[in-house]
Amino acid sequence: MSTTNLPMADAIRIVVSEDRLSASLSVDAAIAPDGVTPAMVAAHLRAMGLRLDKERLSEFASSTLPIKLSKPQVIIQGRPPVSDSPGSIELLVTPPAAEGQTADSHYQRTAILSAVAGAAIARYTPPRYGLDGVDVFGRPLPHQSQAGQQAMLGPNTRLAENGQTVLATAGGVIRLQDNRLWIETKLEIPGNVDFSTGNIDFAGDIHVHGNIVDLFKVTSGGNIEVDGIIEAANVRAGQDLIATGGIVGKDKGGCIADHDISGKYMTNAHLEAGNDVIAEVEISNCRVICSGQVRVERGTVQAGHVTAAGGIICQTIGTASNVPTVVEVGIDEHLRQYCAEKLKQIDRQRRQVLQVRQTIEPLLRNQKKLNPQQKERATELLYDASELETKTNQTLQDLKRSYDTMKTKAHADIRVSEMVHGGVTLRFQGMEAVVQSNLRGPLRIARRQTCGNWQIVAISNGSVLPLPSHVCADKVMDELNRALAAT
């Protein structure tokens, strides 16, 4: 049969895609060389059961222009289904160990991922609910569900205003598990701090269930609790340091806490506490500096050098074998060290000022010989010298105030329940006494004024025994007074 005898409707070819999301139209020019009408196309579509929206349909029906399409053209588009998505969390930080390290830094290798409060830690894509699609026949195309846990933000995290960046609201360890992100404010180390963990620097609390071994560094912005021993390591706590097993510094290790240091015993270590140092058994051969008290209520302070601004409470001081032991109370060693450092700075500044003035003065005596630029420069130098002098004097006054505050701790004392051995050196503000022979406790050792003279005395059962005391120069205080006199 020739194509010219075929009905015009046969010229219309509509092909539906395999996924039923599109239908394409073409017109056989051999059968309908002048094209076909829109109404014919619309009728064909209806006969096939294809959906065409009413607006498009009325366009086809009312339009009289012939449609000539030698190549297929999509005339109906379905809507593809949208799958569910669990969302995702992509970390923005990597542990230091992941960044190339040299062989020298084995101590630095740590797999702990930590963040400080406010840090951006991840990019968040929220879960998405799926949507069924619609095919070209108007029938639904079901959506698929992707497997996986939904992305969720857990404790101590929040979304930034952009809705994508995740911020830490507290310092701690970053945990990402099963598409859930949270911050643990406490770091638990199940074993030792050693090469398996590397050095640790953590904003929150740390709990070490084992030991901290030699030469490692542990720093925390909060508390550090160690179930085992702190060996010759360097440990720094922003709050309390608890060494349940004790501290064995081996003359190398040091522990610093902004608040208390406590433990079973402490030997051969450097200890600095913003508040108290408390031991159960002994503090032996340590350098202790604390702004509060040293307390070894059932034990000994022996050998070493202990400075406790708030006083000492212990069972025994010193040893029967007269190993040198120095104990100081009412003295703020941190302030003393700070003061000594500042005084050096003040001295440098004063010499600088003197040098400037010595340079300018001859020039000022012969101002007529100076050109305008030199006169301006001289003004600048005079100003700089004056500024420096003002700053120096201000620093001195601040130091004096701090030292005056320290004097209020002059009443701090030493309380011993059993014995102070001979050979122990006792120091209070400006005074020192060496115990000549054993003093039996319970007793209190304090600084007292009698007949206008200050003395170190041992008070026991109401009786007062003066100890042979002598003035002990406080070099830093003397230097401070000299510096103040020069203002």
């Binding site: 000022l364 100076l370 305008p372 001289a378 003004t379």
Partner: protein
Amino acid sequence: MKFLLVDDSRTMRNIQKKILEPMGGVEFSEAGDGLEALTAIASNPSGFDLIFVDWNMPNMDGITLVRKIRETDKRTPLVMVTTEAEKLRVIDAIKAGVNNYVIKPFTPQVLTEKTQQTLAKARGAVAAAA
């Protein structure tokens, strides 16, 4: 109080500002030469409480600036801050209309004292006029 600092050296203007800031309650404006100073004065209808003027500046020097200001304003206190120390220069400046004179190099104390003197005299003059 509003002070205008006129000096072609920014360092010098900064020094004057730092020395006078401890007086408290002072707002500073700056100009690098006499022409800039006239612009600053024109755009500040409420006026300045004190104007510090350097002598040697480009475009318009200090003495010319003082004379220009005094053509229309006899009241605003003017302090010449300059390296010009010759007696004749000082006399010229006073004749032109400055109220006080500070010679560079000066110490912070000198500048502060002369400023306070000038302000006190100006307040006294205002009180007397009232």
